[in-house]
């Protein structure tokens, strides 16, 4: 019990089978109950979100014969933010014969996650990775190929084997279009009922089970209740709590947060990933940040001037001996390919020393001059052409001539709703897949692993485990006037009415931007007890101000983009506080998070396995002064024994 949280019972059961890790998933699949094909069409599943996880899940469930109702806030399922993933997707195919294996991918992922992920889940992810590539190729995903016609691979972000499959810098787009096309086929066949431009605003629980959602039609403003036998959340991550992130503008935590408020535990909310290679902020108008694939670090060299006084000079005027290739200097064996968290923090450190470049001194160089000299401009263009173009379009600078400027930005959230081995949350019948759950990446996600997890969950894991749950159905129909349905709907309507009635003097965006500043400053790459405590106070008072001063124009029965934003920002306020509390309670540096009070004498991250080798799953406590309740899921490492990550 502290000022900010209380502790509840530990989580005893994760539903993971025991025994040899290699056969756990096989055994779980065999023990899972099956649903008779004739019964499947009597079972309805709601899937919220149409990214890699939601799209692949919806298509696969519909192919299996279930009736699927799918929802997304965009105008088409093809636009979900998975589409923006650039670099690639990992799979343990070992096509390069370079010593890769399922076990090695498992090992790398557990280690990369800084020993804060569940071994059983990660092993399963590694083992389905090979099926994902087969599936995507069968769908016609145009992966990069070699002259012999076989698939090309590259090494990516902190791995020493080439296991990353890619489609130029648009891997996410091509994988998503594969899932989207499979989905559209099922929509055409009448097996998926697609509801684009619909936003989930509440979860409906009946007799302890997730049975439906409340949605708002974003065109007409109509509020409806949608019922089903099970609900799947595939609603993505919450990086937009920082306002500036690489997420799409519409990405939000509302679906997850509403489920959390209804009883689903939220795990490791403070685990966010700061991506090292983004285009720096250019001014106060900045509305989002753009990521440059970290595959650029395969050939680009990261540096800043050795002396702060050189920072204002053009890069070309700084002599070779006055440059500090700090990643190569500090981490000689991995150099520019150190994992994301290490590269990000190192960039922040040199900028904090006053050696950053570009506007505001918040940037470091990523230089391709050597690569162009070594490989020729043509080869560099073939590999990175579209990324260079994108950089030039945004900054107006030519990266073939002057080095790129990059800076870390919030990119991915490892935390999310707690799920067991079956991807089921603590609410029966509520399953969570993809970035929205917490399960596979621990405290730090490796590059090219997000696409793998989204598709692994959606194509291969969920369809089995959800079937096991649905085998007990179809469940009794829920009447539209059931108390729980009426209540959930009324809560949504009341909240909308509240937003529209405040009529204050500040815009939703101005609050969101201010909240983002607080989070970046105190709950970003480096955290301290003092800073986090201060942040909680600032968030609380800003939230109070939001509820009295926000101005939402227009009315509810129309397309009203500010009303949509108001709901999302209101939930971000609550999440932000929980993130700070989670960060405060975790008095260790791990993964992407540097806790200033926990470092080695030479300033590297210091983990405390004796105290923090657990998943922090938070229960929502009701009432104004209520404190979130911490439930610990102790992590056991039977196969990959915790060691200090060293990339030196």
């Amino acid at each position: 019990m502290t000022e900010f949280w209380t502790e509840g019972d530990p989580i005893a059961d994760t539903a993971a089978p025991d025994g040899p890790i290699e056969t756990r998933w096989e055994r779980r699949k065999f023990s899972a109950k099956l649903v008779n094909p004739a019964n499947r069409r009597k079972l309805t599943v709601i899937v919220v979100g149409t990214g890699l996880a939601g799209g692949s899940a919806a298509a696969t469930l519909a192919e299996a014969g279930y009736h699927v109702k799918s929802y997304c806030y965009q105008d088409s399922p093809r636009r979900a933010h998975s589409i923006a993933a650039q670099g690639g997707i990992n799979a343990a195919k070992n096509y390069r014969n370079d010593g890769d294996s399922i076990y090695r991918l498992f090992y790398d992922t557990v280690k990369g996650g800084d020993f804060r992920a569940r071994e059983s889940n990660v092993y399963r992810l590694a083992s389905v990775s090979v099926n994902i590539i087969d599936q995507c190729v069968a769908q016609g995903v145009p992966f990069a190929r070699e002259y012999g016609g076989l698939l090309d691979n590259r090494s990516f972000g902190g791995t020493q084997v080439s296991r990353t499959f890619y489609a130029r810098g648009q891997t996410g787009q091509q994988l998503l279009l594969g899932a989207y096309q499979a989905m559209e086929r099922q929509i055409g066949l009448g097996n998926i009922e697609m509801n684009a431009r619909h936003e989930m605003l509440e979860l409906i629980i009946v007799d302890g089970k997730a049975r439906g959602i409340v949605v708002r039609d974003m065109i007409t403003g109509e509020i409806t209740t949608e019922m089903a036998d099970a609900v799947v959340l595939a609603s993505g991550g919450y990086g937009n709590v920082f306002f500036l992130s690489t997420n799409a503008k519409g990405c939000n935590v509302t679906a997850s947060w509403r489920a959390h408020r209804k009883g689903a535990l939220f795990a490791n909310p403070c685990y966010t990933q700061i991506h090292p290679t983004c285009i720096p902020e250019s001014g106060t108008h900045q509305s989002k940040l753009t990521l440059m694939s970290e595959s650029l670090r395969n050939d680009g060299r990261v540096w800043v001037p050795k002396r702060a006084e050189d920072c204002k000079k053009p890069a070309g005027e700084i002599a070779e001996e006055d440059r500090d290739y700090y990643l190569e200097r500090i981490y000689p064996s991995f150099g520019n390919l150190v994992p994301r968290d290490i590269a990000s923090r190192a960039a922040k450190n040199v900028c904090d020393e006053g050696r950053g470049v570009g506007p505001g001194g918040l940037g470091v160089y990523l230089d391709f001059a050597d690569a162009i000299k070594r490989l020729g401009r043509k080869a560099v263009e073939a590999k990175y052409g579209n990324l260079f173009e994108m950089y030039q379009r945004i900054t107006g600078e030519d990266p073939y001539e002057t080095p790129m400027r990059i800076y870390p930005a919030v990119h991915y959230t490892m935390g999310g709703l707690w799920v067991d081995y079956d991807l089921q949350s603590t609410i029966p019948g509520l399953f969570v897949v993809g970035e929205a759950n917490f399960s596979d990446h621990g405290a730090n996600r490796l590059g090219a692993s997000a696409l793998m997890q989204g598709l692994g969950d959606g194509y291969f894991v969920l369809p089995t485990t959800l079937g096991n749950y649905l085998a007990a159905g179809p469940f009794e129909k829920v009447a539209p006037d059931h108390e729980a349905v009426v209540e959930a709907r009324k809560a949504v309507e009341d909240r909308i009415a509240k937003f529209l009635s405040i009529n204050g003097d500040r815009t939703v965006d101005s609050f969101h931007r201010e909240l983002g500043h607080i989070m970046w400053e105190y709950c970003g790459m480096e955290r301290t007890e003092e800073g986090l405590t201060k942040a909680i106070g600032l968030i609380r008072s800003l939230r109070e101000e939001f509820w009295t001063r926000v101005k939402v124009p227009g009315h509810g029965e129309q397309l009203n983009q500010n009303l949509e934003k108001a709901g999302r920002v209101a939930d971000f306020f609550e999440l932000a506080e929980l993130m700070c509390i989670d960060a405060l309670h975790r008095r260790e540096s791990c993964g992407g998070h540097f806790r200033a009070e926990s470092q080695t004498p030479d300033g590297e991250a210091l983990r405390h396995d004796d105290q923090f080798s657990y998943v922090a799953a938070w229960e929502y406590a009701t009432g104004e002064a209520a404190k979130p309740i911490l439930h610990k899921e102790q992590l056991e490492f039977e196969y990959v024994h915790p060691s200090t990550r060293s990339y030196k």
Binding site: A59, S76, R78, I133, D134, A144, G188, T290, L291, T507
Partner: protein, 230 residues
């Protein structure tokens, strides 16, 4: 047509950020902000959709509206902004249009039937690099609809041609090649898109540079499919 005065815009701001600034002011002044579609703001989701000074996605080549920056305009310019205009894309509000007609075309055949679990080993079928590269080029279409907005006939031929080429170039796409092209073209007509008269405006505005010659390929595929059908 309404004219707004927008002040203090940085040349480094994107076109959408300029509209954000304007909307913030409109809200505080008690006016209605302008509704517009946008999401990723990095040129890949295909959500943003504006005709700027008469050109779909504005004056810069191979650039979506969200990646167009204000440095390409001069202080004092009057910029015309309109929604996509096409019979198959009804306007919802302000600059927001309904593009579900594109999804309907994909539903009709813009896929390879490969139910999850049925896939053979990925290396079982090598794909010549030349075909894979061309398929990739066609597959980069973001489905924004600029091609339709630019076409005097409101035709979606470039969009359909891109998908038909992407899937038709892959060995995996051969079994459904004929039915795909026939069904997608039928769906395109049913959705109210106009016919193609080879004006080429579509390829001019395409932010992803989908080449015009894919329409020729589509027509040739269509003729072959009809012949095979008999």
């Amino acid at each position: 047509m309404v004219t707004y005065d927008v002040k203090d815009i940085s040349p480094d701001a994107s076109f959408l950020e300029m509209l954000d600034v304007l909307n913030e002011k409109l809200i505080l002044d008690g006016d209605d902000p302008i509704a517009f579609d946008h999401d990723c703001r990095e040129g890949i989701c295909g959500m943003c959709s504006m005709v700027i000074d008469g050109v779909a996605h504005g004056p810069e080549k191979a650039t979506t509206t969200c990646q167009l920056h204000m440095r390409h305009f001069s202080d004092g310019d009057v910029i015309d902004v309109e929604p996509w205009r096409a019979a198959a894309f009804p306007v919802i509000k302000d600059l927001v249009v309904d593009r579900t007609a594109f999804d309907k075309i994909i539903q009709a055949g813009g896929y390879i039937t490969a139910p999850t679990g049925a896939a053979p080993e990925a290396h079982a079928t090598p794909v010549p690099k030349k075909d894979a590269d061309l398929a990739f080029e066609a597959a980069t279409c973001i489905g924004c609809g600029a091609c339709v907005a630019a076409c005097p006939n409101g035709s979606s031929m470039l969009f359909t041609a891109a998908k038909v080429a992407h899937l038709g170039l892959m060995p995996q796409g051969q079994p459904e090649r004929d039915t795909r092209v026939i069904d997608m073209l039928q769906a395109q007509d049913d959705a109210g898109f106009g016919g193609c008269t080879n004006m080429g405006e579509c390829a001019q505005v395409c932010p992803k540079g989908i080449p015009l010659h894919l329409i020729g390929r589509l027509n040739s595929d269509y003729r072959k499919a009809l012949r095979n059908k008999g």
